[in-house]
Subunit: 331 residues, 2 copies
């Protein structure tokens, strides 16, 4: 079985984006949820994520709202709360229509400067009432201005406490960039992955939360490529070796869009810390002229990597079952 | 001959840092330059950079002020102008004392929100009067708040014009991080490299400056690891292939502190775009317990990479001669 732990509803029906536009313009938005039929949902997926699952022979995608659309920096906490509810409910409908193909991961109603304790109710609602198996945690709800304390700060603890209690992991994933310095998928996403990992090196978060699980997407940003740098920095800073300090709690996905990158990831990061993912339909949609295949068809790179069958099973399925412990395959 | 294109005077005598402390405290600083004897300079280098050059059998280091000490975010443009002059003059003394071992690269007197045109006079002074062969360009003089326009913006053009006229390259290198989200050597440096490259993808800078040369340090940040992502993003954005769009003007150094990282760099980036560097004595000073060698002894990784003798010569020397065209070996 092949589990893709990183997919977003990038192809959601236009009515969702129209609702959002009105919500932002009216600084509060429509009192009713966007009107979207089941057929519109089916149509938005059949030609895209579901087709690609079939073509690439993958089984299930852990599915959350479009990352760039979380836009925690837009509006205030009340706006974020409504928007998160609307988006998460739509994800829930997708997963109810296609329970074999998608498992739900929620966005959180973060807002710059507002305590993450404010996200606890929506996380509980999603997990306890709607069967969500994980959440996306934005380390920079300001959208590229990085005004929030680092992830090791007690600021974040109320949310971690609830995640630990519910036993749900978070993927550390930023949203759109409001800062012209940072292209969103080309700089902000990758920088955030790198930044989050370095923040974790600096603290002792997992002493306080030994069961907390964080997934760093996009192959861990720059971290595996600079694994020697991070091992060396940790050592100079008198931190424990990274495998003891972080790798019982931190995982990387495989959203790295060429063979040499995947080969490096598999070489330097222990196989137990790697979860298969493609983020399709996502940041990079074209065909690689060097291979004739989609850049984001990451399954091909894993298959070609020379990983043993046992290790492949871990990356494709076993590790996802371990990290997203609330998930099990549906019929 | 082995040319290390990336070294900073991290071991400068205490009198320099004391001078800076006073300058910042007094918001203007001492009217006289810091008093540092030639012997103090010798002492600061003999046990550090010069010893390591000998041990690692490298010949010359392109040497600039300590990156973290540029601190363009501290004080105003006048403070930055004095500090740049003091630091660059000290680099000049180092290179005069050890002309075989060091070649001078200057810092610029940048200040947040102040036009880069303001850096032209110091660049001219350094290059024309003191024989400097390159400069360090900080894409984020705010120190981690990223308030400046992207590098493709016309904001930067007056500086590029002077660089092109003088035929000096810039290493795109940030300074200290004043933002608690970003550890300076573990997040801010690497993020800046990634960000700068993505900014360059977004524009057409080298149409306007066909001879401009930029070096992205730290192995290009996350870029080579995500080379498929960057090729794919450029393609989706209808930009030319990266080799045509950027690789006639953009170079990466080899400050990647483990063998798999260097192997990936050499596999995906054309050899003509890679310049040997170690950034010693720099961000990572320890011994790698896995190899028993210094993490930053990057020469070993290149030697072990399987690169042909011709290609090694390019990485170790030829490309540096091409990019830093004002440099030639001294006796």
């Amino acid at each position: 079985m092949i589990v893709d732990c990183h997919g977003h509803y990038t192809t959601a029906p236009q009515a969702l984006w129209d609702w959002r536009k009105r919500q932002v313009a009216e600084k509060g938005g429509p009192s009713k949820e966007p009107v979207i039929t089941d057929d519109e949902i089916r149509e938005s997926l059949e030609g895209a994520q579901l087709r690609l699952q079939k073509e690439r022979d993958t089984d299930v995608t852990f599915f959350s709202p479009r990352a760039g659309s979380m836009e925690h920096h837009v509006g205030d906490a009340a706006i974020s709360a409504d928007w998160a509810r609307v988006q998460n409910d739509l994800i829930h409908r997708v997963c109810t229509l296609y329970p074999k193909n998608f498992a739900p991961v929620c966005m959180l109603p973060q807002s710059p400067g507002v305590s993450p304790a404010n996200c606890v109710a929506e996380l509980e609602r999603c997990v306890n009432e709607r069967g969500f198996i994980g959440c996306n945690l934005n380390p920079d709800p300001s959208g590229g201005w990085w005004t929030e304390p680092p992830l090791i700060d007690r600021w974040w603890y109320p949310l971690y406490e609830k995640m630990a209690e519910l036993d749900v992991p978070a993927m550390v994933h930023v949203s759109a960039s409001a800062n012209p310095a940072f292209h969103f998928t080309g700089a902000h996403y990758i920088n955030a992955d790198t930044t989050a990992f370095m923040q974790l090196i600096q603290g002792d978060l997992f002493k306080d939360f030994p069961t907390l699980k964080l997934v760093i997407p996009h192959g861990g940003g720059a971290v595996p490529y600079h694994w020697g740098r991070y091992r060396g920095l940790a050592q100079d800073m008198k931190r424990p070796p990274l495998k003891d300090h972080l790798l019982k709690n931190v995982y990387f996905d495989t959203c790295v869009y060429h063979q040499p990158g995947i080969d490096l990831l598999l070489e330097v990061i222990p196989v137990d810390n790697i979860l298969f993912a493609s983020e399709m339909v996502g940041a990079v949609r074209g065909l690689d002229p060097e291979t004739g295949q989609h850049y984001d068809d990451t399954r091909r790179y894993i298959e070609a990597s020379g990983l043993s069958a046992t290790d492949k099973q871990r990356v494709f399925e076993g590790n996802a079952r371990k990290v997203y412990s609330r998930w099990s395959p549906r019929q």
